[in-house]
Each structure stands twice: as structure tokens, then as C-alpha cells.
């Protein structure tokens, strides 16, 4: 470390990009703010892209290869896709996009306009797979104490947050903007972020990882609440067991009382549940929340049952108790005193428990980055920005973000969403505005590009870009984003 610092301190370089011939210290930029010294190497930066960000991306341009073994064939290599990451940006509104790359793909003249967009109108939509209560709708979501977003609503089995957006980025205090920007960038770069919700929980969110709610890591996303599970599996249990209880923190289901059981003419069993009955066969609050069965605090499921009613119950009656995720299960037979005695579970019931497990997917946090490409960004691509919008809508132009497919919202402008886990590591940066810098690529036929007023003078063959020093090659998981249907 010490050696590194020492050598870096003397490692100023002389830029030969123009006759000013600036001496540039490590980590600093020359008089033009366009060229900088990164570890003794001259790199091109853009006035509005800070050096740290460019450095962290190892250069300005990142072509991707589907395979590790790059064969050097570029021109007709369909798996080569130039992304915008590190391309630099064209903000403010007057410069042509830094790289407008042409490549011959399948004999068609293709153009990728590579730019990095600065998005002050942007945010992330976070889906957290958990049924745990995170906070009331519209509650403020905070990072480091600053308001960075809000709770929107619940989707089935998941809680939804909306973070960022122009009001938090630029509408509040300076600190709010900075913290929001940091939070968005970390989430978009798949880093873990701790969020606290006013009147609710503290949750650690990381794209592609299970959420950690109030310190407890969520394992599986249940297939449904206890009642829903009864509904889904009633037929499979019919004739194989007399009673089924699906233990759940939210709604515990009881087969014989449940509508699904009634429809199958399942007889009453004299079972007595603790907790508050909602509708037949559905019980709230059978226990306190916890990390035991079905998100409750119990380890012995019989604790939620009262004594069986002797009028309906009979010795030899069979009962399955299972948690909503299938992680816990027990099988019982009533003895002469109508007490449940745990017994080895028959194979076909084991099978049904495994089926429940199979239907409970791993709980994840998913982060969708969402932003609108403003007119100035589009102007970096073409002389007539609205034609680019129309071209995207007409499906002549494919939009990708770091090579990942995006969903373009219908309506005006180019507002898109992208799953950040599909993007290469470190794809996002920021500028002190504050705003996020995200890659965005527009791919189209060269002839279409010319027709929409493209900056034809700036089109470079792919080979020229690839021979540059600052090209980083990464294996690429995704196929080239295909034409939108």
C-alpha cells in the first residue's frame, strides 16, 4: 500500500491529446477536464463524469463477448455488443454521443449509438419477497435517516417500494439528494442497502439476494397464506388424511372447515383452533410472529390447538400439520383419549409436503432501475430527438441498458425499466448534480440511423473502437437483445 501511494504521488503524466501538454497528477484531470490520469495511464473522461466513476469501470468502453474466448472477429460477430458503460456522456446537450459505433451484423449495416445518460428523473422500483409487514402504504423509506422513497403497496407475496425520483434527488435538501443518489447507485449496482421505514421495519435490500427484515433473513417466498394453501392442495389431500392444518403467521387454514374442504364433503373433525376465526377454516393470530412454523413463534404446532371436540372427533382420526412453506410438517393420529400422537407420515402425504416446498420459491429482492431518456440525451444520438423516440416506438430501434433488455413504457418519451441484475457489475455511476449515470444503447440499421438524422460523421467501425486501449472484455450472459415483439 505504502509503495503504491509513493509511486502514485510521483506518477504524474504528460497528456499529449492537445498542444497544451498538461502534466496531470494521478486521479486528476487536465486543463480541459476531458483527459485524466488513472494510475499513470491517460484516460479520456467527460467533463460531467467524475473520474472515480470512470476509473471504477476500468475505461470507457465495454464490449461483451458471449464466450470467454474472444476470437477477435468483430465485424460479423453477432455476439459482440458494445455497451454504453464507461462511454462517457454527452451532457449537456450539444455533443454527439461519445461513441457511435457501426458494425456489420449479418450483412446489415448496424449502428449502436453508445452513450451514458445522466438521469435526474430516475429511480428504482424494489420488490421484496416477504409477507412480513414492512410498513404502511405511502410511509417514508429512509436511508441514513434521509427520505429516499416510499412504500407503494403489496403485490402477492411481496412488498413494493419506490425509491428515488426527481423529488428526492433534487427537490429536497442537499443531503437528501446525495443520500438518495448513493442509495440508488448502490441498489442499482447490486450492493446491499439498509432501509428503514417510518412506522415499520428495517430491511436490508440487495438485488438478487433474500431480504433481511429486522435482522431475520427471509428464506422462502410462501406459495400462499395458510388458507390459500388449503385451497390449492385440498384435492391432493382428499381421501388421504382426515384433517390438514396449514400453520401461517397471517392466516392459518383448516381443511375440514375451509370452503375447499366443504366442497369435497370432508367431514368435521372436532378440531379446535386457537386464534381469531376470520371466515370458516381461516384463523388470524394463532401465535405471535417469529421464526418458527409458518412465520410464527411456535416450535410445537399442537400448541395452537385446543382439545378435540368429543362429539365429532374419533380415535384413529388422522391429521397433517404443515407450515405454509412446507419447511415444517408433522403427521398425527388421535389416540383413545382423542389426543394427537405424532406418527410417521405416509409417503403420499410426504409427497404433498414436498409439493408445497417446491412451490415456495426462494425469497429475493429485485431492483428495477427506471428512467426517462430526456431530449438532450436523445440529441446526442440524433439531430432530431423525437425521431429517435418514434423509431423506438416503431420497434426499428432496440433500446438496451448495459446490454440488458429493457421494457420501454408506452406513451411519450423513452421511459424504460431494466433489471439491474442483468447488467454488468458497476454499470451505474453518478454526477454531483445529483443524478445517476446509466448506460443506454440504441441499436438500429445504419440506414434507419441516417434517416432519423443520426450523426453520421461520427460513426466509427467497431474494429476501431475495439483496438482502443480502454476496452474491457467481459463474458456476456444475455443473448443480443432481439427485436421487440
Amino acid at each position: 500500500m505504502v509503495t503504491e501511494t509513493t509511486s502514485a504521488a510521483i506518477d504524474k503524466i504528460r497528456c499529449d491529446a492537445c498542444p497544451v501538454m498538461c502534466y496531470i497528477k494521478p486521479g486528476a484531470a487536465g486543463a480541459c477536464d476531458r483527459y485524466a490520469n488513472h494510475d499513470g495511464k491517460l484516460v479520456r473522461v467527460d467533463p460531467h463524469v467524475i473520474l472515480e466513476r470512470t476509473v471504477s469501470h476500468g475505461g470507457k468502453l465495454v464490449p461483451f463477448s458471449r464466450t470467454e474466448d474472444w476470437d477477435g472477429k468483430i465485424v460479423h460477430e453477432p455476439s459482440t455488443f458494445v455497451t454504453a458503460i464507461g462511454a462517457g456522456t454527452t451532457y449537456p446537450d450539444y455533443k454527439p454521443a461519445p461513441f457511435i459505433v457501426s458494425a456489420e451484423v449479418d450483412g446489415v449495416d448496424m449502428v449502436t449509438v453508445v452513450t451514458e445518460g445522466i438521469f435526474s428523473y430516475c429511480g428504482v422500483k424494489v420488490k421484496i419477497d416477504t409477507d412480513r409487514y414492512l410498513g404502511p402504504e405511502t410511509a417514508t423509506v429512509r436511508a441514513q435517516g434521509e427520505a429516499v422513497g416510499h412504500v407503494t403497496t403489496s403485490e402477492y407475496g411481496s412488498q413494493m417500494l419506490s425509491l428515488g425520483g426527481v423529488h428526492h434527488l433534487t427537490g429536497g435538501s442537499k443531503k437528501e439528494g446525495r443520500v438518495t443518489c448513493d442509495t440508488l447507485m448502490d441498489l442499482a449496482n447490486c450492493k446491499a442497502v439498509e432501509l428503514t421505514i417510518d412506522g415499520g421495519a428495517t430491511v436490508v435490500v440487495q438485488a438478487g439476494q433474500p431480504p433481511i427484515v429486522n435482522g431475520v433473513r427471509e428464506e422462502r417466498m410462501r406459495v400462499g397464506c395458510g388458507s390459500a394453501t388449503i385451497g390449492m392442495f385440498a384435492k391432493q389431500w382428499h381421501g388421504k388424511v382426515d384433517e390438514v392444518v396449514v400453520v401461517d403467521d397471517h392466516i392459518t387454514g383448516v381443511l375440514s372447515e375451509h370452503q375447499a374442504g366443504k366442497l369435497l364433503d370432508i367431514a368435521d373433525t372436532g378440531i379446535k383452533m386457537k386464534g381469531r376465526r376470520s371466515t370458516p377454516g381461516r384463523y388470524f393470530q394463532v401465535a405471535d410472529p417469529g421464526t418458527g412454523w409458518g412465520g410464527t413463534n411456535i416450535s410445537d404446532p399442537l400448541a395452537i390447538l385446543g382439545p378435540f371436540d368429543a362429539k365429532e372427533a374419533r380415535p384413529g382420526l388422522t391429521m397433517l400439520m404443515v407450515s405454509t412453506t412446507g419447511e415444517h410438517s408433522s403427521y398425527y393420529v388421535l389416540d383413545e383419549a382423542l389426543k394427537p400422537v405424532e406418527t410417521e407420515m405416509p409417503a403420499d402425504l410426504k409427497f404433498s409436503v414436498e409439493r408445497i416446498q417446491e412451490n415456495c420459491e426462494p425469497a429475493l429482492c429485485t431492483v428495477l432501475f427506471m428512467a426517462g431518456a430526456g431530449g438532450s440525451l436523445r440529441a446526442g444520438v440524433t439531430d432530431n430527438p423525437v425521431r429517435l423516440t418514434r423509431s423506438v416506438k416503431d420497434a426499428l430501434t432496440r433500446v438496451t441498458s448495459g446490454g440488458a433488455p429493457v421494457y420501454v413504457w408506452p406513451g411519450g418519451g423513452i421511459t424504460y425499466m431494466v433489471d439491474v441484475t442483468q447488467m454488468p457489475a458497476g454499470a451505474f455511476g453518478y454526477v454531483p448534480t445529483p443524478a445517476l449515470v446509466a448506460p443506454i444503447e440504441f441499436t438500429m440499421k445504419l440506414s434507419d440511423y441516417a434517416a432519423l438524422g443520426g450523426h453520421m460523421d461520427y460513426v466509427k467501425p467497431l474494429s476501431e473502437v475495439q483496438n482502443g486501449d480502454d476496452v474491457r472484455q467481459l463474458p456476456w450472459q444475455n443473448p443480443i437483445p432481439g427485436p421487440r415483439a
Binding site: 502534466y23 497528477k25 486543463a31 450539444y94 442537499k174
Partner: protein
Amino acid sequence: MTRLPQIALLSDGRRLHLQDGPIDLIIEARGRADAVRATYEAAAQRFTGLLDELCAELPALRAAAEERTSLRGVVARRMHAAVAPFAADGFITPMAAVAGSVAEEILGAMLGAAALDRAYVNNGGDIALHLGRGEHFSIGLMDRPDRDGVMRAMRVDADDQVGGVATSGRHGRSFSLGIADAVTVLAATASQADAAATVIANAVDLPGHPAIVRQPACELQPDSDLGARLVARHVGELSQNEIAAALESGAECARQLFDRGLIEGAVLQLCGDMLVIGPKDIEEQRTRPRLPKNAVCA
């Protein structure tokens, strides 16, 4: 090796963008279509090679200005002429006027090619103006070039005798010895405005104040013309009185320049506070803007 500047019309089809090394010009001319075309061609032609001319004399341009000069290039000599009036009062190099001098040179080349109703050459905030009879420009003042948004607007009319507007401060590309967020100067020429803005911005200061972090310029940029002189890097929390005192010290400097006929006016901005010096039309036609009480100094 031939190195050509970037020459392009912006996407609006009206403005011309010229860029070479650290010089980045946005130009707009208004007049007859053929006149505009001719002046744009003249601008591009004059711009080509201009940076090389300057760089040929770079060591002398980065040295402290003296009364006499051996500089030869027309732009270099203009830079020197602009800073010469300040040479007796303290350290200044011709580089303090480089941006304005380049803007002025390009505007001159344009007006030599054809007559225009009005035109400007904006060199990163140092602007050369041409106003024909009855024309005016509305000029936005920004206190922080690293942020969006025009803070205030002022109007420059043809009979104001203002040919240059320049802004200097600690947020720009070049370093400042003072702490001003922005000092905007109106002067007869862009080169004079540029030099004066530098001098006034240097004077907006609170010497020895503990909340101000300073660093030798050469540690930041090895070949800075400021050498080991301390430049302001960070300004911490300042009280309203301290802000007023720093502005007043700059205003004192600006008033002297005004009395000497070197500037037509100046607007000094620090931590959301603002002081206007000079022409009556700025102070009287524009009510003094309400200052944000919660302005925070970064």
C-alpha cells in the same frame, strides 16, 4: 500530425460548437442567413490552429505579467494587455485572460467577415458580445457552474458599451485564490472582463479563516500558472457577517476597477449572498433579488 478542432452545428441547427483541447466555444450569430454562414466559416477558420499559436508561447503566458512584453501572438498580446493594468498590484499572469481573449478573437474574425445584428462567442462562461443598434442580450448569472439552473438574469443593451462578460470563481475549471462562488464582470471587451473577474474573485476572501481549506495550486495541477500559491478548495460554514465581509473586500476591489474605467459592472456571489457593483441599469432596473435565507455553503 494534423489535429483539427471539432467543428459542428449543435442539434438546434443555429449554434456553432468549436472545441479544441481545453477550448470549448458555443457561438450564435443573428443576421442575414448568408452573413451568419460567412461568420461561422470565419470563426471555424480562425479557430483552427489558434490553440497551437497560444501553446507556442505557453511558458511566457504562464509567467507573471510585467509592464512590457515580448509576446508576439495577437491573442497572447491581448491576454497580456488585459492583465497589465493589474500587474502592479500583485501576481497575475496573462492566463487570467485566456478564455476571454480567445472569445474576443473569434468574435473579431466573425465581424470581419460580415455584418451581424448580434452575436456572442461563449468560451465556457467568458463571453464576447456584439450588439447592433437596438439589440440586447439577456444574460443568466449562475453562482455555481457545477449546478443546474439560472440564478438571475440581467440585460445588456447595445448602448451599455459592454463587449464582454466573464465569470470567475472557485467552482470553475481554473483555480481561484479567493472564495467567491462566482464573480461576473461586464467590461468593454471579453479579455478585460475575464482578467477583472479573476482579480475581483481573488479579492473575495477571508484570509486565515479556519473554515477555508486551501491547497497549493501546483499540487492540484503541476503546471498551473499559480505555482505554489494557495487556492481555495473548500469553504465550510460561514456566518452572515463573514460572508458580508468577504463580499465587501471583493466589492472594494471592484469599485476601484470601476473608477479606473476597467469594468462596466460586477456581480459578486458567495454562499447565496450577492452584491452588485456598477452600472445603474443593473441595480436600478432590476430589483435586488431576495436572497435565500437557508443558503448553505458547500
